[in-house]
């Protein structure tokens, strides 16, 4: 295995630990696709992922859902292969096809044995799904019906009701705030999938990640083969800018559930932002650090009010959401909300202690090897590094960047990003007597 050993003497009070980070090879395929590869022969298997800027953020108003259906139908029929052929042929060689879809990215991934016969058969299917999807009319009709039914189901469940209301409250009319509506799906035509595919699945915007048991020469051939027949693609439309400052809001939605589902937040931080590391480390202390965060301590450990309470920043092309979430029985929803808001306010006003910062760094830096201990995890990093054009040394630099974060930077970054008086709050299954009332 080709690895570079970097020594990080950053563990405060601990002996220095050497972490081997995978060596990332990067090139551009003749097709124009950007390729990211880690060669590793420990296991006789190969992971591949091909991603495009084709997530839901690229939908247009009134036709939300086109991006998702386009993605969902890539493996449901291609030139010379029916949807059943695709599934059967993959299963015959023990390959597993999956995909990624979010507001920025869409794409397919494949896990296959690296032995030549199996690998070839599996890559052939992947190539055809990516390059020659047919979006067959009858399959589209069926998939639309399935999607509509699942949307109707989602409209009855507190988790999805709150997610939808929260996205709208945080992002307003920005595409990050859109959720697919039944009425939109009903209107979607095959030609729209076709044209979305042609515009957004172009070779020059494709990002290919490969991890595992092939040589560099083989990886080059695979990357080219997977992208050579892609459409030309349109110009990179990009995602429109997110409005960072929002007006405070509180929406209470009735639901017969026994618990209130509470979400609080605001637009947070973009993937390439300088504030990312201070916010990431700070959030570990606030609500990201499992059993040891402040939110967990205040809400669960001290008061027994919730099973789960968390906060996170979702770094995207544009600033994704900063979100706090919890579920608690209706009768104590307002009290919990008060505790959460007070915890956040104190955090933003006073920042973190040096002791907390030290503990956070110990966990994040000391736990770094766990982030890259499998092919699965490494290929996920390759996809993110490639898609967001992060430095190839992202993994090498990770622990040093965390170590450099100061308590002043955390306080400063939170102050600028999170205004406790300008947050969106959504409560689904709100306490009955207060439903509909503003507080």
């Amino acid at each position: 295995m080709l690895t570079r050993i970097i020594s990080t003497a950053v563990l405060l009070g601990a002996a220095s630990i050497a972490f081997a980070t995978p060596q990332i090879q990067h090139w551009q395929a003749p097709s124009g696709a950007r390729v990211y590869f880690v060669e590793n022969h420990d296991l006789p298997m190969l992971d591949v992922a091909v991603n495009f800027p084709a997530g839901s953020g690229f939908d247009v108003a009134g036709k939300v859902g086109v991006s998702h259906l386009t993605f969902g139908m890539l493996d449901l029929g291609s030139q010379d292969l029916s949807e059943d052929d695709i599934a059967r042929k993959l299963a015959d060689v023990g390959a597993q096809m999956g995909g990624q879809f979010d507001a920025d990215r869409a794409g397919l991934s494949l896990r296959t044995l690296s032995s030549a016969a199996e690998r070839e058969a599996a890559l052939d299917i992947l190539a055809r799904c990516l390059q020659q999807p047919l979006f067959p009319e009858p399959v589209l009709a069926r998939e639309k019906a399935r999607l509509i039914a699942s949307l109707k189901e989602a409209e009855t469940q507190p988790e999805s009701i709150s997610d939808k209301a929260f996205a709208k409250a945080v992002f307003g009319v920005h595409p990050y705030g859109w959720r697919t509506e039944v009425a939109d799906v009903e209107k979607i035509q095959r030609a729209e999938l076709e044209s979305f595919y042609r515009a957004h699945y172009g070779a020059k915007h494709a990002v290919v990640a490969l991890m595992g048991d092939v040589t560099r020469a083989e990886a080059e051939a695979i990357a080219q083969r997977l992208t050579a027949g892609l459409p030309e693609g349109g110009a990179d439309a990009g995602i429109p800018a997110v409005l960072i400052r929002i007006s405070p809001s509180e929406e209470r939605i009735a639901h017969p559930a026994s618990q209130s589902h509470i979400l609080i937040g605001t637009p947070g931080v973009a993937r390439n932002d300088e504030d990312y590391f201070p916010l990431y480390v700070g959030n570990y202390i606030l609500g990201g650090g499992g059993f040891v965060s402040r939110l967990m301590n205040e809400v669960r450990e001290k008061r027994g009010m919730a099973y789960s309470v968390y906060s996170y920043f979702m770094p995207m092309q544009q600033p994704g959401a900063f979100q706090i979430g919890l579920q608690t029985k209706k009768e104590q929803a307002d009290e919990s909300l008060k505790v959460v808001r007070q915890t956040l306010r104190t955090f933003v006003d006073k920042g973190v202690t040096e002791k907390e910062l030290r503990a956070a760094k110990q966990n994040i830096i000391g736990g770094f090897p766990l982030r890259i201990d499998s092919n699965r995890k490494i290929i996920e990093y390759l996809g993110v590094i490639g898609f967001y054009k992060l430095p190839l040394t992202y993994l090498d630099d990770f622990t040093a960047k965390v170590d450099k974060v100061t308590s002043k930077q955390i306080k400063d970054a939170f102050k600028r990003r999170i205004d406790p008086d300008a947050l969106a709050t959504v409560i689904v299954g709100a306490p009955e007597e207060k439903t509909g009332a503003s507080k």
Binding site: F19, L43, M45, I86, A87, L90, A91, V93, G94, R111, L113, S115, A117, E118, R142, R146, I148, A149, S150, K152, E153, T156, A165, P248, S249, E250, E251, I253, A254, H255, P256, A257, S258, Q259, G289, G290, F291, N297, R300, K302, G304, A306, Y307, S308, Q327, K329, A359, Q362, N363, I364, I365, G367, F368, P369, L370, D373, S374, T435, G436, S438
Partner: protein
Amino acid sequence: MRIHLVVIALLLQISFVAQAEVYEKTLGNGLKVIVKEDHRAPVLVQQIWYRAGSMDERTGTTGVAHVLEHMMFKGTKDVPVGEFSRIIAAAGGRENAFTSYDYTAYFQQLHKSKLPLAMKLESDRMHNLLMSEKEFGKEVRVVMEERRWRTEDDPRSLMFEKLMATAYQEHPYHNPIIGWMADLENMTASDALDWYKTWYAPNNATLVIAGDVKAKEVFALAQKYYGGIPRVKLPQRKAAGESAQLGIKRITVKAPAELPYLVMAWQAPTLRDAEKDWKPYALEVLAGVLDGNSSARLNKALVREQQVAMDVGTGYDSVARGPGLFLLEGTPREGKTVGDVEQALREQLALLVRDGVSAEELQRVKSQVLAGEVYKRDSVFYQAMQIGQLESTGLSHKAEPVMLQKLQAVTAQQVQDVAREIFNDDRLTVATLDPQPLSDKPKHNPGAAHAH
């Protein structure tokens, strides 16, 4: 057929490797230590598996196995409340625990240098747990919130709870792992302490360490940290069973939802003797034939061709301490009913019982199983899980390569025979989710200003 040869070669290689890398030793106090060396990354996982799950509980204190799991993070004399998690976090670790019908397990994932620390902490709480009334009072409320979240407000999970309580009338799989709400409300710190004193003992546990370690060093450390914990006299376990069912059972669960949902569950055997049994292997293959990929029988027929269902699924687990169930589930498509889905599922089963499975289908499932054996080696955690599960359900980790070979040896005739035996209405429980409108349709009140 070339693919066939390839997979058989792979099979031999896998079983050789699997055996070569696992080491075991039992300490003087009865603690079984199993080590799986995997040197791909400088990390390790420690898992301690107690052979006590919700199936060992008694009427009135259901859920106590899981409540105790929560209390295990609440401190000992040397490691006060909250410290366990803080110390593991400061060591760069991730940790958690899980309770099942059959066992309760705790784990930490860490850099390879941290094993002594993890062992020190885990061995301490094996015999030194403090049970404070105050901490118990808070934590049992957390568990009630967990129950509301996982079960009460989740229509399908609620239906599954009722299904289990109907399919199992004698065996304790009747009760939910998280416990009935009334039992949680009535539970006391002394219930949890009794549970701890009864079952938390080295002679009722398996310690699994997997990752970048050397077995010899692990055994020495295990002796140092766990070796001094005294053995406990375990109560005699009384094997519960489930009599043969005497006719079909049907239940309906009403809950707020949009879509109806159907689950059919047949009484099915689980593995008792990895060498001699054949039905559980045939059932695993049967599940793959029905639902192993999106062109497998059920999805192809019900979702793609007849379009009677939105989605379908199959569930069967051959590894369990108690009697098993073979499950089929389906969600009707708009305009169709659960009755339509049930009928369509029954037609597929009838076809299978009448005509059997093709050689191609059989081989496809086996290829997937073998590839899965390679893929699973990408996760140290999962490899340790599999060892812990086998040990905690009365099989041995040594059954693993045997099971793999037995699965490869399943014949089309066996699949057909086991289908004929299992898919009998006298073994069947059918549960239906009857979706109810939200009593109060969501009222939107956007933009209400909030001020402190």
